[in-house]
């Protein structure tokens, strides 16, 4: 564990809302070694995006962060803005969910790609432009020199996400956080983008966190998976182990919710019954209990800790593991 590139220690995020404080992330612990990949999975509202924003120190102004985000031995949460700025780009990079909104509509692709390298690598504009074209070619964009002069709205969604990935890779970061990188894209290009990310991750030996609601996305592409529910990590295990033996009923439900391509037509799409609990009204027991078919009185009354009782390297928070 001491070799970890990133370790998230007891991180909580509280957002003030008109209905009272909302605990979006609740005492999450994670760690990631250099060059490894982690998948963070959960349905929308589970706090996975807030967790990624907490790691990136991009929380909304009024959000309150507790705990430590140790990156290369430094606590990002306690870092001065200028020191943090120097880390972003060359050490820590991100690809956001929607390339329609994460690229600035009034600046050219070139400007947005080149400015990062100029800010951190000290390249002059000619060298940065040359490098920018190379990067665009690397992420699979044809005619890169012309693309540099275009605006985001002139590109398709998939192309735009490739641009966003090129921007994220431009300063050779040690850790890349991909926050639902394919959710906003057409199904046909989703796999391409994921494969591109996986390829670049291996090629550059960078660590990567993929945040998604889709267990299928992390299946063959990550070393470890953390499943989040209602702000907490409820199961965490090496990917093969997790898929081999799920312990948490929620993870199982999540897997069942992936539509099967081989299902006969007009099959009702599987869904997890019920809704996640109101995050401003925390439950005393297991948050998943109201929707869990195995739940009993113990689940309603006491929160199960995230633990590894079998010492098998797989952690889960459940009184009645599968």
């Amino acid at each position: 564990m001491d070799t970890a590139l990133l370790s998230v220690e007891a991180v909580s995020v509280v957002l003030p809302t008109p209905r009272g404080p909302l605990k979006a992330v609740d005492a999450v612990d994670l760690s990631l070694a250099p060059g490894r990949t982690l998948g963070v999975v959960g349905e929308s509202g589970c706090g996975k995006t807030m967790l990624s924003r907490a790691i990136l120190q991009l929380l909304p102004k009024r959000a309150k962060l507790d705990g430590r985000v140790m990156f290369n031995g430094r606590d990002l949460a306690a870092l001065q803005p200028e020191a943090l700025r120097r880390l972003r780009g060359p050490e820590l990079a991100v690809v956001f969910q929607d390339p329609m909104t994460s690229l600035n509509p009034v600046l050219t692709i070139g400007t947005q790609l080149v400015e990062t390298m100029q800010a951190h690598l000290g390249l002059d504009s000619a060298a940065a432009a040359k490098r920018g074209a190379e990067l665009l070619a690397e992420v699979g964009i044809p005619a890169p020199e012309q693309r540099l002069r275009q605006y985001p709205h002139q590109l398709s969604g998939g192309m735009r996400q490739r641009v966003a990935i090129a921007i994220a890779l431009s300063c050779e970061p040690k850790l890349l956080i991909a926050d639902e990188p394919t959710t906003a894209l057409d199904v046909t290009v989703q796999a391409q983008i994921l494969d591109l990310l996986a390829r670049e991750q291996r090629r550059r030996h960078m660590a990567m966190i993929i945040i998604t609601h889709d267990l299928g996305v992390v299946a063959g592409r990550t070393d470890e998976v953390a499943v989040m529910y209602a702000g907490r990590v409820v199961e965490r295990a090496p990917t093969p182990q997790l898929f081999a033996h799920m312990r948490m009923p929620y993870t199982e439900a999540l897997l069942a919710a992936i539509p099967k391509l081989d299902a006969p037509p007009h099959t009702t799409l599987p869904a997890i019954a019920g809704r996640p609990p109101d995050p401003t009204r925390p439950l005393p027991g297991c948050s998943f209990a109201p929707r869990c078919r195995y739940a009993d009185d113990r689940c309603q009354g006491a929160k199960p800790p995230l633990a590894d009782p079998e010492r098998a390297g797989a952690l889960y928070a459940c009184w009645h593991p599968l």
């Binding site: 924003r53 990136l56 991009l58 803005p81 700025r85 120097r86 880390l87 972003r88 780009g89 060359p90 820590l92 990079a93 991100v94 956001f96 969910q97 929607d98 909104t101 994460s102 690229l103 600035n104 509509p105 009034v106 600046l107 400015e115 990062t116 800010a119 951190h120 605006y151 709205h153 002139q154 966003a164 921007i167 300063c171």
Partner: protein, 316 residues
């Protein structure tokens, strides 16, 4: 882009035509006879009749409009009955002063408004933000002529720092010329900045919530670059529009300010023409101002397209 300009031009023509018609109608619907007004009550009927014929006042109104429009299109806006000066010469003479005043005022207003708006947006909800937005709201109720009185009292009467009236040509003494513009321009700028600040502030707050700003932060860009390049440009669309719309108010404000500070601009020409009942000058000056205003709005529309590439590429 060419298609966009073409579409706007097609719209511009009927508006310009309507503006000339309205200007003409206002002047033609004078109660009483223009000839009598010009010659005085004691004029003999023969003299009045002669002048009417000379001015074409005996023709039906639509013919008079077409004749007048024909002249206007040939650059002939008439000639003052009092000084003999042509309207065009009078306007050309005064225009530089008005332009200098308005440009100085608008630039000053933007120089005040933009930094304050950015400050408010970055610290939105803070005490600073609430104070400045409150101040801007209060200022909306303080028209230019009151600001002028206040500034004259402070800087001219009490401190004796700047001239309250008078104007010296730039060619004669540039420093004195600029000094004579300080109070008038400041008056207009103080009237303008709250509107500009409020608009930019609310747009900027919305922009700062955008994903691409989070992205810019995640890229480790300097805060100044994030604010000035990534946030300001997409936030300035409404600012440009409002700046354009406000030119109408600015023209009105400039008119009063020119009168108060005795600057020989279009506004003073207009008001002077009213005092002197010099209707030809008045009609010409009003037409000039209205057409200028329409043209400014046209240019503002074009600027829109420059600022937002999405409009330029026909996705408006």
């Amino acid at each position: 882009m060419a298609k966009f300009i073409g579409r706007r031009l097609l719209y511009l023509l009927p508006v310009l035509l309507a503006v000339t018609l309205l200007t003409f109608l206002i002047a033609s619907l004078l109660p009483g006879d223009l000839a009598i007004t010009l010659l005085g009550d004691q004029a003999t009927p023969e003299k009045v009749e002669a002048l009417r014929a000379q001015m074409g006042l005996d023709l039906p109104i639509w013919q008079r409009y077409l004749l007048w429009l024909w002249d206007v299109l040939h650059g002939d806006l008439g000639r003052s009955f009092r000084t003999g000066e042509t309207v065009l010469a009078a306007v050309a003479d005064r225009l530089p002063v008005s332009l200098e005043l308005m440009v100085m005022a608008e630039v000053t207003a933007l120089l005040i408004a933009i930094p304050l708006a950015i400050l408010c947006a970055v610290k939105s909800g803070s005490a600073t933000d609430r104070f400045l937005t409150g101040l801007a709201f209060g200022k909306l109720s303080l028209p230019p002529f009151m600001v002028a009185i206040l500034l004259i009292y402070l800087f001219a009467v009490s401190l004796n720092l700047l001239p309250a009236t008078g104007w010296i040509p730039f060619a004669e003494d540039p420093i004195a010329n600029l000094r004579s513009f300080v109070l008038p321009a400041l008056t207009l700028a103080i009237a303008e900045w709250p509107v500009l600040m409020r608009v930019l502030r609310s747009d900027m707050i919305a922009t700062l919530q955008e994903d691409y700003i989070a992205m810019a932060k995640a890229k480790g860009l300097r805060p100044a670059r994030i604010l000035l390049v990534h946030a300001l440009k997409p936030s300035s669309l409404t600012l440009v529009t409002v700046t354009g719309i406000n030119i109408g108010r600015l023209i009105g404000g400039a008119l009063i300010v020119e009168v108060i500070f005795a600057l020989p601009g279009i506004g003073r020409l207009l008001v002077g023409a009213i005092y002197a009942r010099d209707f030809i000058i008045l009609q010409g000056a009003v037409l000039f101002v209205a057409v200028g205003f329409v043209m400014v709005n046209f240019v503002v529309d074009m600027l829109y397209a420059v600022l937002d590439p999405r409009i330029r590429h026909g996705r408006a």
